[in-house]
Amino acid sequence: MNEFVVLLSTGAALFSIGLYGVMIRRNAVLILMSIELMLNAVNINLITFQRYLYPGTSIGEVLIIFVITIAAAEVGLAMAIVLRVFRNWGTINVDKISEMKN
């Protein structure tokens, strides 16, 4: 039981750090890294719940494989966008890129 709490706390801490990073950081690459942190926190949660709630199955593992795959694709896409943004604005500071306003 103790192990369960420790694992979930790790996941929650990791998610909070990731969220904090997304909210605070101005650098687009760092925001992406924070998002990766959040995704991994979710992965930890998934494997923990599989271990303690559905032992003997592989539901969580399957889901994790999906998350990792999609995360990899997402990072690839996001990095490409960040590169394009840098080409256009000369910066990847998201505060400077407020074209969405108006």
Binding site: L19, M23, R25, E99, K101, N102
Partner: protein
């Protein structure tokens, strides 16, 4: 309805045929000049006429027939369409379809080469169709629809030459003036529905006696306002003389069979309602009397050929209304009912159509749409046939025996005598005076138009073509013999009102003949140019002449009414709409999303960090809420 005897679909075709003709002409080409549209329209109305004859013979052998179909039912309310073929509607149908047919045949020549020839025939067809609908239908709702269509199509015909400003104005005047009456009719019909729960005329007439007297009085008053508008009774008569701006055959139709007949027909059709409201009957008598006298006087002062005829129509309509009112006031046992007015409506329809069509012939030869009687002088030399037709129509209108007008006027004059006491005699006197006036103005018309040498060296025009003379010939035959035929062998009184018979009261006949011949004689003396009226008499007549020349100020009164009441109300409503409805309700409510948007747009910073923070916070709040709930 319990007495459905023999219901066939055929009578529904009577209004449908001209309507189809209208639709076909409308869809094919309104601007066509080919005579084909005329033939199509005439063919349709003639088929209707033949159908009427067929139904007439069926009526004589089988009696009345009804048909009532439910067109749609909404909850408690069901909308019925159907027809009601009784003596009254058959007589009216006969008049409408026959006069329409003749007028349309006549128009082939009259409207030849007209820019909107097809449009003219389309309007004629829908005019006939809507009037047939009015007289044939068994439902007050359909009657109202037909009633409005009659108004619309007469608007179209009066304003046929709408390039001419006066014609457009006259059409508008006719439409708006009759609309005043139509509103009364509509409210009356709604009141009838609220009180009896049905629109079927048959059922309404049966259940109307069970309604409170005051309600019946209001209903009768409202219905009569509708009749006043259409039948051009004072003070709504102002539209009729102006309606002369339309083509003359259209005027003939409006004056004889369709538009103005609708009002008299309405009173006759719903006579049982009017009988229950005695006070309204007196109003009807007074309005009819005043109208016939005033219009007769105005006809005396008028110089325009067609306008004289128009005023004489108003005057004769007044007489019909007066007769209808009087026969509702007399002893119900011996009452003529609606017959008194309807007989004159029929004979008047034919001889007035004849008069208008002869006027059309004379104007057509001058290539004018209107002319004063002095401009058309010398008709007797120029075209003796036309002059003969004119004289036949005029003598019939005067009520000279044995022309048709004599018989119907006899019936009209006998109606007031049924009222007891001095009041009956008073009404009788008014009717006699109106007859005298009509003799007088028609004599003047004949003397001026027929007499005289050919003025302004006109070329002796060739005789009017056969298509124009044929309708005139038929109409004048009816004007000569129709009255005797209807009064004698056919006994129209018995036909329309089975409890009575037509019987000639010889004293009355003598009086009426003396009055009309007297009018003729006095007119002959007065208007023969050699006669000089002494100055003292003229001085006496000055105020009257002043009044007549100003048309009794009715046009001015209408002007003042429109300016001060209608326009003032309209202005007030327009201002209310602009200031209150628009500025406060529409604009302020329209502003509210704007203002909300102004407040909310400050949130949209474009800063991703801020968005994420807001998103996360709101998710947290939602999670907290879901746990708390």
């Amino acid at each position: 309805m319990d007495n459905i005897l023999n219901n066939s679909w055929a009578p529904l075709l009577i209004p449908a045929l001209p309507m189809f003709a209208f639709l076909i002409i409308f869809c094919v080409n309104l601007l066509t000049k080919t005579k084909l549209v005329a033939y199509l329209s005439i063919f349709a109305i003639f088929l209707s006429f033949a159908l009427v004859i067929f139904e007439f013979s069926k009526f004589i052998s089988d009696g009345e027939s009804y048909l009532s179909l439910t067109w749609m039912a909404v909850g408690q309310f069901s909308f019925q369409i159907g027809y009601m073929l009784d003596a009254l509607s058959l007589m009216m149908l006969l008049l409408v379809t026959s006069v329409s047919t003749l007028v349309q045949i006549y128009s082939i020549e009259y409207m030849k080469g007209e820019e909107r020839f097809g449009w003219y025939y389309a309007a004629q067809s829908i005019f006939a169709a809507s009037m047939i609908l009015v007289v044939l239908t068994d439902s007050l709702l359909l009657l109202y629809i037909g009633w409005e269509l009659v108004g619309l199509s007469s608007y179209l015909l009066i304003g046929f030459w709408y390039e001419k400003r006066s014609a457009a104005e006259a059409a508008k005047k006719a439409f708006i003036t009759t609309r005043f009456g139509d509103v009364g009719l509509l409210i009356g019909i709604i009141l009838i529905y609220l009180n009896t729960g049905t629109f079927q005329i048959h059922d309404v007439l049966q259940s109307i006696s069970g309604i409170a007297d005051s309600t019946v009085t209001i209903i009768a008053a409202l219905l009569f306002i509708g009749a006043m508008g259409k039948s051009a009774q004072v003070p709504f008569h102002i539209w009729l003389p102006d309606a002369m701006e339309g083509p003359t055959p259209a005027s003939a139709l409006i004056h004889a069979a369709t538009m103005v007949a609708a009002g008299v027909f309405l009173v006759a059709r719903l006579f049982e309602i009017f009988v229950l409201a005695e006070s309204i009957m007196w109003v009807i008598v007074i309005v009819g009397g005043v109208t016939s006298i005033l219009a007769g006087l105005m006809a005396l002062a008028e110089t325009d050929f067609k306008r004289i005829l128009a005023y004489s129509t108003v005057s004769q309509l007044g007489l019909m209304i007066l007769a209808l009112g009087s026969s509702g006031l007399g002893d119900p046992e011996h009452s003529l009912g609606a017959t008194s007015g309807v007989f004159h409506l029929l004979t008047h329809g034919y001889f007035k159509a004849l008069l208008f069509l002869t006027a059309g012939v004379t104007l057509h030869s001058l290539h004018k749409s209107s002319a004063t009687i002095y401009e058309v002088r010398g008709l007797g030399r120029k075209s003796p046939i036309t002059a003969g037709f004119l004289i036949i129509g005029s003598l019939s209108l005067m009520g000279i025996p044995p022309l048709s007008g004599f018989f119907s006027k006899e019936l009209i004059l006998s109606a007031p005598l049924a009222i007891e006491g001095i009041r009956g005699m008073g009404v009788f006197g008014v009717a006699l005076l109106a007859c005298f006036l009509s003799s007088l103005y028609m004599t003047r018309l004949i003397l001026v138009v027929v007499q005289g040498s050919l003025s302004n060296e006109e070329v002796k025009s060739h005789a009017p073509p056969f298509v124009m003379n044929l309708p005139l010939l038929i109409l004048s035959t009816i004007s000569i013999g129709g009255g005797y035929l209807l009064a004698g062998p056919l006994d129209i009184v018995n036909f329309l009102n089975s409890s009575q018979h037509f019987h000639m009261d010889y004293v009355l006949a003598t009086i009426s003949t003396v009055v009309s011949v007297g009018g003729f004689a006095i007119g002959f003396i007065l208007y023969n140019q050699k006669t000089v009226v002494p100055n003292e008499v003229l001085k006496y007549l000055k105020p009257l002449v002043f009044l007549i020349e100003n048309r009794f100020f009715f046009d001015k009164l209408a002007d003042i009414f429109v300016k001060n009441v209608s326009l003032a109300t309209a202005n007030f409503v327009a201002k209310f709409d602009r200031k209150v409805i628009n500025d406060i309700f529409v604009d302020k409510i329209g502003m509210s999303p704007n203002i909300t948007g102004e407040i909310l747009r400050t949130v949209q910073t474009g800063n991703i960090n801020q968005y994420i923070t807001m998103f996360s916070v709101s998710v947290l709040i939602l999670i907290a809420l879901s746990m708390w709930v």
